[in-house]
Symmetry: C2
Subunit: 379 residues, 2 copies
Amino acid sequence: MGAPREADGSVGAVTPQDMQFDEPLPLVSGAVMPSYSIRYETYGTLNAERSNAVLVCHALNASHHVAGWYEDDPKDIGWWDNLIGPGKPVDTDRFFVIGINNLGGCHGSTGPASINPATGKPWGADFPVVTVDDWVQVHARLADRLGIRQFAAVVGGSLGAMQSLQWTLRFPDRVRNSLVIAAAPKLSAQNIAFNEVARQAITTDPDFHGGNYYAHGVVPRRGLRIARMLGHITYLSDDAMAEKFGRELREGEFKFGFDVEFEIESYLRYQGDKFSTYFDANTYLRITKALDYFDPAMAHGGNLAAALAGAKARFLVISFTSDWRFSPGRSREIVKALLDNGHDVSYAEIDAPHGHDAFLMDDPRYHGVVRAYMNNIAT
Amino acid sequence: MGAPREADGSVGAVTPQDMQFDEPLPLVSGAVMPSYSIRYETYGTLNAERSNAVLVCHALNASHHVAGWYEDDPKDIGWWDNLIGPGKPVDTDRFFVIGINNLGGCHGSTGPASINPATGKPWGADFPVVTVDDWVQVHARLADRLGIRQFAAVVGGSLGAMQSLQWTLRFPDRVRNSLVIAAAPKLSAQNIAFNEVARQAITTDPDFHGGNYYAHGVVPRRGLRIARMLGHITYLSDDAMAEKFGRELREGEFKFGFDVEFEIESYLRYQGDKFSTYFDANTYLRITKALDYFDPAMAHGGNLAAALAGAKARFLVISFTSDWRFSPGRSREIVKALLDNGHDVSYAEIDAPHGHDAFLMDDPRYHGVVRAYMNNIAT
């Protein structure tokens, strides 16, 4: 009874699909994926002209399950369900929306926990490092198979936004609009530093076994837990944390021990515990590396404008004032480089208190901007 | 030959001393330390009136070794040697300066690795949780034994500044000046969150053994390493990291693996490795708890001005623009609360790029402010 109904603007019950690819995929690293399977979901209807497709790219710990819910688990609602659905800012009455789990993920697509056909055992440490550009290649192959030559829009937040930007560079003729939300054109040293601490927590966990923990029947849960706790700090603004938790004590007074005392400790431990039960550590390592590597300007001597010169899409760039992971200044670097090329770009800096996670929130100003932009896209 | 000479403004070769206390110390937690030893150093000469003593309080990982160097290890220079010495901003030609290793530390004072007289074994998990107020009590006992009734000044940065502030509340008649540098009147939820991730990294390390790792002949090195890496991120500003490391690659190109690629990774791993060889994990846990607990306004319904009403010292409060751990706004909370009481307070917000660590740096504007303030203190 608690499940969202289609009348609520939900796409309703959805069913993930798997697509098998047997043509080898050369990766940026030089490695080759011999074959792989990609899990995805679609919402809405592809029109006769196949011109209304929208690709949604996910960030660190999300998946293909972008909107709607599952018949057998109505509480498992898509991670961007507040943005995507009938009558919503990304309107599935107009657009055919595709959510996809990236290669190397742990939500159904081929990843480090999958069986390596060459050995009959889990890939583990042998699973290659994947990059944002590799993911975009996979997206394009899936689009080919669905008969989609050109996306009306590619949409993403955070790491998803990096994919949305990369799409306009790798396949400039195949994307008409790029929504780049809560992004950065590359990680800063501090961003890389946080990723590195998370990775070190995982790889030094005795249960990591060099990445081949599957064979040992264990999971580097301690490391994953630390990685997730740390991540959460960077997703929230200092103010949002103060507002939500402040210095509230669990039991009203100091206990002078090492059990939970402050509410923020309880929250972080809970988030870490939960994450460590379902997320694959090898996937976490690879996704943080994809973040670290993303730097389209690198091949152009650090000149971002030169890197973005070939893009043909129109752009909507959105940042959030309280985001200290990828601050508005990072989005403005992208906007400036696009404008330097005379590209068509809209930019909105949303005054929001939630920090980096604001891109997932149901904020009326933010959603209003996305709605207005999407409404102007011809299909 | 490389050792600083007295002519360079160094206090020269110094020798730490130990003072044994056999009178039990009741702690804020309700526990009692039956006896304990405190390691300290002194520089300069106590004048006949015993009116020129300056106490220097240390932060998370520093010690009593504040200035000078050791005859048998000339490269082991005190952590605040750039500030303290003959002719320096805290001038040892005028002041008798005392550095002290706090109770619970791991640099010579009684701490968790010390022998518990009740058991004949290391204290380990049984070592009590200590607070800023407990440390101030110990400082006062040491001052008693040295015949110092009143300090000309108590000086500290970061957690040391919290002790400097607490001194004016606990012993208002025993401190004439309080230098509160890079401080906060209490930790924010985000500050506590970072501490909690560090603690969880340590306590979930399989080598922690519930805090009694000494008996197992191991050290929770993995956890300490993660804690230190994380700490370092919060000590440096984003800009300072960008300036120092940027996205520089160790070997000039991506390696698509999990060894060090970016210089920032190398730096953090090195800092973590080094720290984990000498710092005691139980001390780290307790010092972060002391930080979390510090909140003088708590007993006054959150009213900081009420908490500071009884102070009689003059204050110098200093903050640094790029410090995001304890931002200038946190120092201004202290300044406002002091001014609300009509206390004598000077405030300097130093435009410095180094982040929280700026309080340790040799910055001419910062040191100029300290020098001018200290020069005005009558002895």
